[in-house]
């Protein structure tokens, strides 16, 4: 018993190690939000819903699921992580998968939930905190040498570096260059599909070859185990049976199964009644009485 528990615990430990070692999956939560682009000096760039040119902060949902930013905190002061609480319960705080939202850093929170209670004039850092007000989701250090209408952001969604961008692109991808699809890139190198055929056939064979190897060995193991089970232990008298499970071919099994099936299904003619040995009692009840369920004849 102790040995079994030991094996079980070892198995759990191995699984945990594998999980920890390979856990790169996205959480699909507020943790997937990140700052994407900011504009500190807005002279003639995008205007807010009041027609004002103010500093703005763009946040990108890097997950492949809708994420609610409501409840999170934005701040320009790391010693005060809960400076601006993003209200909850507003559908506008839902950010679609791989999409963007913009907050206006104008120090006018009365203008709506996307207007922050700080601006970026003196800000050296901006940070996004989770709803607990403690867990840092993302942080950006803002260089001092900001130029009017030149945004500072990631050159593309996957980049970790921040640069000054040529175009300001609020609520859209910072990388606006024409891109080739994965297929086009593949075909540029492999125009006739030979490479694809070789790689794909290799992978298909590999997948099924692994199954083959496992099942070949597993088959041997089960055959051996079956043989061992049929071998009498010392001192034990085993009644010899004519066929062991392994000796019986699939065809024999199929024949037996067919015979059983026919025996069970075709032994009798089809009958649509049920035979029972239960007592059938018809106790009187006014609920089932014909007298009360039939309409009375008119007089």
């Amino acid at each position: 018993m102790q040995r079994r528990i030991k094996h079980f615990l070892t198995g759990i430990a191995v699984l945990l190690l594998i999980f920890v070692g390979t856990n790169v999956a996205k959480s699909q939560s507020a943790g997937d939000l990140k700052f994407n682009e900011i504009l500190v000096l807005n002279d003639s760039s995008a205007v807010d819903d009041f027609g004002m040119h103010t500093a703005w902060i763009e946040i990108f949902n890097s997950s492949y699921n809708t994420v609610n930013i409501g409840g999170c905190f934005l701040t320009d002061d790391l010693s005060n992580p809960t400076k601006y609480w993003i209200p909850t319960g507003d559908p506008a705080t839902l950010i679609s998968a791989r999409f963007y939202t913009v907050f206006w850093a104008d120090d006018k929170p009365t203008r709506g939930i996307f207007h922050l209670n700080f601006d970026l004039k003196q800000a050296k850092t901006i940070a996004l905190y989770n709803a607990d007000g403690k867990t840092l989701i993302d942080k950006v250090d803002i260089p001092a040498d900001q130029k009017p209408d030149i945004t500072y952001g990631r050159p593309n969604n996957e980049s970790t570096q921040w640069v000054y961008l040529e175009k300001s692109t609020p609520r859209s991808n910072n990388d606006y260059t024409k891109k080739k699809s994965a297929g086009e890139v593949f075909v540029e190198i492999d125009p006739y599909g030979i490479g694809m055929t070789i790689i794909a056939m290799f992978v298909v064979f590999l997948s099924l070859a692994i199954l083959f190897v496992i099942y070949k060995n597993m088959g041997r193991f089960f055959i051996r185990r079956g043989a061992a089970a049929n071998t009498p232990k010392s001192g034990e008298v085993k009644v010899s049976t004519k066929f062991s499970e392994e000796e019986m071919s699939g065809e024999v099994n199929a024949a037996i199964a067919m015979a059983l099936y026919m025996y069970q299904n075709e032994l009798h003619d089809y009958e649509n009644t049920v035979l029972t040995i239960n007592k059938v009692s018809r106790n009187y009840s006014p609920w089932s009485s014909k007298i009360y369920t039939l309409r009375k004849s008119p007089r």
Partner: protein, 384 residues
């Protein structure tokens, strides 16, 4: 009175403009004829009736010409047919069908003779043969990938991949895939006979051994983990296939397995067949591309059969006498279950009335289902 009569005539004329007669084109007539032919094949010839009846009738529905703007057509947002087609476009139906296939498939033949698994891999050559040909004919890489999967002879996989890579060609690809699956008994035998010698056709294979329940349960779990760890993009199909199989083999979820392989797969088959058929509106379907897709589909089935049969012949060079495989089961590596296995049986019986190949052919046949799903995952990884 005259004004009233004018009113009646005017509105009758207006109504006539709404009828299918007024909107009919020669394309619609051609498509309706194709739909009727599918129904004829299904009823009179019993070619894949479960598929060809819904698809054939779907073609009729899709080609009733209507005035646009009334949320009638399958491509009009908000129409009933559009809602039903959503399951095709988003690739929802194919994994559900795979769940049912898993619940009704017995992998014993494969487990008892694991080398048959490799035939299922070899027959996927048809997919990549068609992919190369499609590229040569000028199709875009994603279109070529979606067309290539026809060679896997697996309708749900073809729909799944086409919906991701080339939604515009989905109707043509699905129709081609299902049509050629129905025509497996016509396409495969000549290739099988051409590639085999009389002596090879008479090879008798060892009867498969009995497989224990534990082995079957382990197969469902290990099969899913191994294949999806290598090709995660095939997970929707492979995951559901092996899940359905576990429901079947665990022995404790009979009700779930019965639902998966019974009412559920029937419902999804009706929906997928009808909507795929209806997606072949003449205006979107009758193009030169569709003709190309049909030609490539036929070629892919031939290449797939070639790949399977030739692989067995090569494998036999390394196998001892008594362990050799009859190359007539090589064709079953395509995943048209159980039609291609049935073809092996029928062709085998032509040469030896007592040599039953059906159970042996089921091995590569179900391996083909796994192989084509893996191949679809690879294409999706590289091209999407």
């Amino acid at each position: 009175m005259g004004t009233f009569i004018d009113f009646i005539i005017e509105h009758l004329a207006q109504f006539l403009q709404f009828t299918a007669f007024a909107n009919m084109t020669i394309g619609h007539v051609i498509m309706i004829c194709i739909g009727l032919y599918f129904i004829y094949l299904a009823i009179a010839k019993e070619f894949e009736p479960m598929l060809l009846i819904p698809i054939g009738f779907g073609i009729l529905i899709g080609n009733v010409a209507f005035a646009p703007g009334y949320q009638i057509g399958i491509y009009e947002s908000g129409s009933v047919m559009n809602y039903l087609y959503f399951g095709v476009l988003q690739g929802i139906y194919p994994p559900l069908i795979f769940l049912g296939i898993g619940a009704m498939t017995d992998f014993s033949a494969l487990i008892s003779n694991p080398k048959l698994i490799l035939i299922g891999a070899a027959a996927q050559l048809g997919i990549f043969g068609a992919y190369c040909l499609a590229l040569a004919l000028g199709f875009s890489p994603t279109e070529a990938g979606a067309i290539g999967i026809i060679g896997g002879a697996d309708g749900p996989t073809a729909i799944f991949l086409a919906s991701k890579l080339a939604p515009d060609l989905l109707g043509a690809i699905a129709i081609a895939a299902y049509s050629y699956m129905a025509l497996v008994p016509v396409i495969q035998p000549p290739v099988m006979k051409l590639l085999t010698t009389p002596k090879e056709r008479l090879i008798r294979m060892k009867p498969p051994r009995a497989v224990s329940k534990v082995e079957k349960v382990i197969f469902a779990i290990a099969g899913m983990l191994l294949t999806t760890f290598i090709v995660p993009s095939g997970m929707p199909l492979l995951g559901m296939l092996f899940f359905g199989n576990l429901l079947r083999e665990s022995g404790v979820t009979k009700r779930l397995a019965d639902t998966a392989k019974g009412p559920m797969i029937d419902i999804v088959t009706i929906l997928i067949g009808l909507t795929v058929g209806a997606s072949t509106q003449a205006t979107t379907f009758l193009t030169l591309k569709s003709v190309g897709i049909f030609a490539l589909g036929a070629a892919s089935f031939v290449v797939a059969t070639f790949g399977g049969v030739m692989f067995v012949k090569i494998l036999n060079l390394f196998l001892k006498e008594g362990n050799k495989i009859n190359p007539l089961i090589g064709n079953a590596g395509v995943s048209a279950v159980p039609d291609s296995a049935r073809v092996s049986q029928v062709v085998g019986l032509e040469y030896d009335k007592t040599n039953h190949l059906l159970m042996h052919a089921m091995g590569p046949n179900v391996a083909g289902v796994i192989g084509s799903a893996v191949a679809a995952g690879i294409l999706l990884s590289f091209l999407a």
